[in-house]
């Protein structure tokens, strides 16, 4: 497959690994933000290849993991109604809420369906005028244009039975929070390539200017990530702090204008609670008031729901890169994909799930002091 296979070339990957090892003179701590990148790193063992001098710490790049527990509870509440057809991306189905999850609602007879695109939910709404269709609109900026367009098209079609439960989060405020933390060990960031495909990287340039920390936009295949890591290491070794773009085949400074336009038209920036981290100001998106008729939180009266996390889950620390999943006393014992205590164990690329899936047997390799 073009634009995928060549970025998995073992010779090039090895060459980049050697390049990294040749440049490094002291240990560095880097962070990748995006869960998809975490998945690749774990699946291909890239963190093994660059150890021990370069350490990768995993950031809060899994929108599934950071979806606040209240939102999951709201989703469960809405999906349990007999007149509702609840449509969601597969990732969210097993995320535990306070008492239940969408998978359980489905098992108990709820009309919960998996979709690959929000437009499938719009299609279902058109075809079933007597059903109330609710789409679970989660994700980072990458998914926001599609989720926004679904609402926009639903309005154009005059649908009265379609709404979205929106829980979008934005990446730059989370990086800012990490950089402001006194415990921060991260010296360089790999910016999320698909978020930047939509939003451009001008926001990350601002972070570089303010915090003097190198940031490189990275792709998702092993060669992309190794190249981005190599570029970061080069900067750090040379004492530079610049904005660079490894993923130039799809990312540019300004980003995708039509996509940004629809986000602007349908959503507005709002404070958001990040599961395991807490409230980060101006870090999320919600539907604008003029789209209230498509806002599932308003329609189903679930705005006021509040919830608590299970005490044992240390996902806050994992998501901020302060602890590794293997540091958690519940990891792979009381907290497993079958019985997760927190979202990072459930989502396909939550850090805990990635470690559990790919690395459980050699935990010694990933514990770098």
């Amino acid at each position: 497959m073009r634009y995928i296979d060549e970025y998995r070339d073992p010779k090039i990957a090895q060459a980049l690994v050697d390049q990294i090892h040749a440049k490094v003179t002291r240990p560095w701590v880097l962070m990748e933000i995006c869960g998809g990148q975490t998945h690749t790193l774990m699946r291909y063992g890239i963190d093994e290849l660059i150890a021990p001098q370069v350490e990768l710490v995993h950031g809060p790049g899994c929108p599934v993991c950071v979806t606040p527990i209240e939102i999951v509870d709201k989703a469960v509440e809405i999906a349990s109604r007999p007149d509702v057809t609840f449509v969601s991306y597969g990732d969210m189905l097993r995320v535990p809420g306070t008492k239940s999850d969408l998978f359980r609602v489905k098992a108990q007879g709820g009309d919960v369906r998996i979709a690959y695109s929000p437009m499938e939910a719009v299609k279902i709404a058109r075809a079933n005028p007597t059903r109330k269709v609710v789409f679970f609109g989660i994700g980072f900026e990458t998914t926001a244009p599609a989720n926004a367009m679904a609402v926009w098209k639903a309005r154009e079609l005059g649908l009265t039975n379609f709404s979205e439960l929106v829980s979008h989060v934005l990446v730059p405020p989370a990086i800012r929070l990490l950089l402001n933390s006194p415990d921060n060990r991260v010296q360089g960031f790999i910016a999320p390539g698909h978020v930047c495909t939509v939003m451009g990287y001008w926001e990350y340039q601002a972070l570089v200017d303010e915090y003097h920390v190198p940031i490189v936009v990275g792709g998702f295949e092993p060669v992309d990530l190794l190249e981005a890591i190599s570029m970061l290491v080069a900067q750090l070794e040379e004492g530079r702090a610049d904005m660079e773009n490894q993923y130039a085949r799809t990312v540019n400074y300004q980003g995708n204008q039509p996509a940004q336009d629809i986000i602007e038209k349908v959503f507005e920036v709002a404070d958001r609670k990040w599961r395991g981290i807490g409230r980060i100001p101006m870090s999320g998106l919600r539907l604008r008031p003029e789209f209230a008729a498509f806002d599932a939180e308003k329609i189903y009266g679930v705005e006021a729901l509040e919830a608590e996390e299970p005490a044992e889950c240390i996902s806050a620390l994992v998501l901020q890169g302060l602890k590794k999943p293997v540091d958690c006393p519940a990891f792979a014992t009381r907290c497993t994909p079958e019985q997760p205590l927190g979202a990072p164990m459930v989502s396909a690329e939550g850090a805990c799930s990635a470690y559990y899936q790919y690395r459980r047997h050699t935990t010694s390799l990933v514990c770098i002091a």
């Binding site: 090895q14 869960g35 690959y116």
Partner: protein, 348 residues
């Protein structure tokens, strides 16, 4: 199964849908047997229409297995629930080194199910059995209230005779053994998903549903230094190998570049975020064999159309007992874990 009465005054009418009466054991049941099942399963044992099938046995060992088929959609590229029901059970027998002989089929049909669809399924089942050389000698039919079933469920139970001197078990894998697979992986699961989700392929992915008993017979004729055979159905190659690793308390190390995946299957998996190692197969087998006979066996398998892409994909080791690991294309190692539940497509 009730006996046919020959003086039934009720005129025979063509019925379009299955009704509760068809499962009640009376005239309608008899009609269903006579018009739908018997013609598809013709054999002398069945036609005796007793409540049980009786046959002679020689000394030796028998294999006995059962499986239920609940696949949705009922009809898919490469097969349907009927042919699947035969292949699945024949394969379970074959994985034990048995020559499959007899099958039973039990149908649970939802009231209102289309008679035409039932005929298609039953005919397909009958044809698959005939092609395998197995006889369907007994069975049962029940009809449940509308809403209590999902169209149709089928159970098949199979009996076979195990070849003399063959002892196959998931507990027999030994360090140094070779892991072989009979072909490319992930086709059945993707074919089903494609049908359900309306994915469009350049060259459509068909389910690989097929009976493997002849391939197994070829292999056993060549050598008995085969420890274990498994058909990686639900849960894919990963589940079967994890089961073997656990039962034999060995490690299994796979070599990613040697695993064959069709272009279309790969495209679908990339698009949906699925890992082909976890996708179901219905016409492939995994073999754990003495490494000394690996090359010879692969050659033998390749002479059979169902094994034309057979290859070695890994090695059994004494390390990491109970784990399945894989050397990635980059030369690093990852584990190939058992899944918690079904693999769900992802956007992240």
């Amino acid at each position: 199964m009730s006996t046919l009465t020959l003086s039934c005054p009720v005129p025979v009418t063509t019925r379009d849908h299955v009704s509760l009466g068809h499962g009640s054991g009376g005239k309608l049941s008899a009609e269903l047997m006579r018009d739908v099942f018997l013609p598809a399963f013709r054999n002398s044992t069945l036609e005796r229409m007793e409540d049980q099938a009786v046959f002679a046995v020689n000394n030796g060992r028998m294999a006995f297995t059962t499986d239920s088929f609940v696949v949705k959609p009922l009809f898919f590229p490469g097969g349907d629930i009927g042919s699947l029901a035969v292949h699945g059970t024949v394969n379970d027998l074959a994985m034990g080194g048995a020559k499959p002989l007899f099958l039973s089929t039990a149908f649970i049909i939802e009231e209102g199910f289309s008679m035409e669809k039932l005929r298609r399924i039953v005919d397909s089942l009958g044809r698959a059995a005939k092609d395998c050389g197995v006889q369907i000698v007994t069975g049962d039919t029940k009809v449940v209230d509308k809403g209590s079933g999902d169209g149709v469920f089928i159970n098949t139970t199979g009996l076979g005779v195990v070849t003399e001197g063959v002892y196959l078990s998931a507990g027999e894998a030994r360090p140094g053994d070779a892991v072989l697979v009979s072909g490319s992986i992930g086709e059945h699961g993707i074919a089903i998903l494609a049908e359900r989700e309306g994915l469009e392929f350049d060259s459509p992915v068909e389910s690989d549903s097929a009976p493997l008993h002849k391939l197994v017979a070829d292999m056993l004729e060549t050598t008995h230094a085969i420890r274990c055979l498994r058909d990686p159905t639900r849960g894919g190659v990963s589940s079967s190998l994890n089961e073997i690793a656990a039962q034999s308390q060995v490690g299994i190390m796979l070599d990613e570049p040697s695993i064959l995946i069709r272009e279309e299957v790969r495209g679908a998996c990339e698009m949906l975020g699925l890992d082909p190692l976890y996708v179901a197969n219905e016409g492939k087998l995994l073999a754990i064999v003495d490494a000394k006979v690996a090359d010879e066996l692969v050659a033998v398998m390749r002479r059979n159309p169902l094994g034309r892409d057979a290859r070695r994909i890994g090695t059994v080791s004494g390390m990491d007992a109970g784990w399945v690991t894989m050397r990635t294309v980059l030369g690093t190692t990852r584990i190939v874990d058992m899944l918690a539940g079904d693999q769900l497509p992802r956007i992240c």
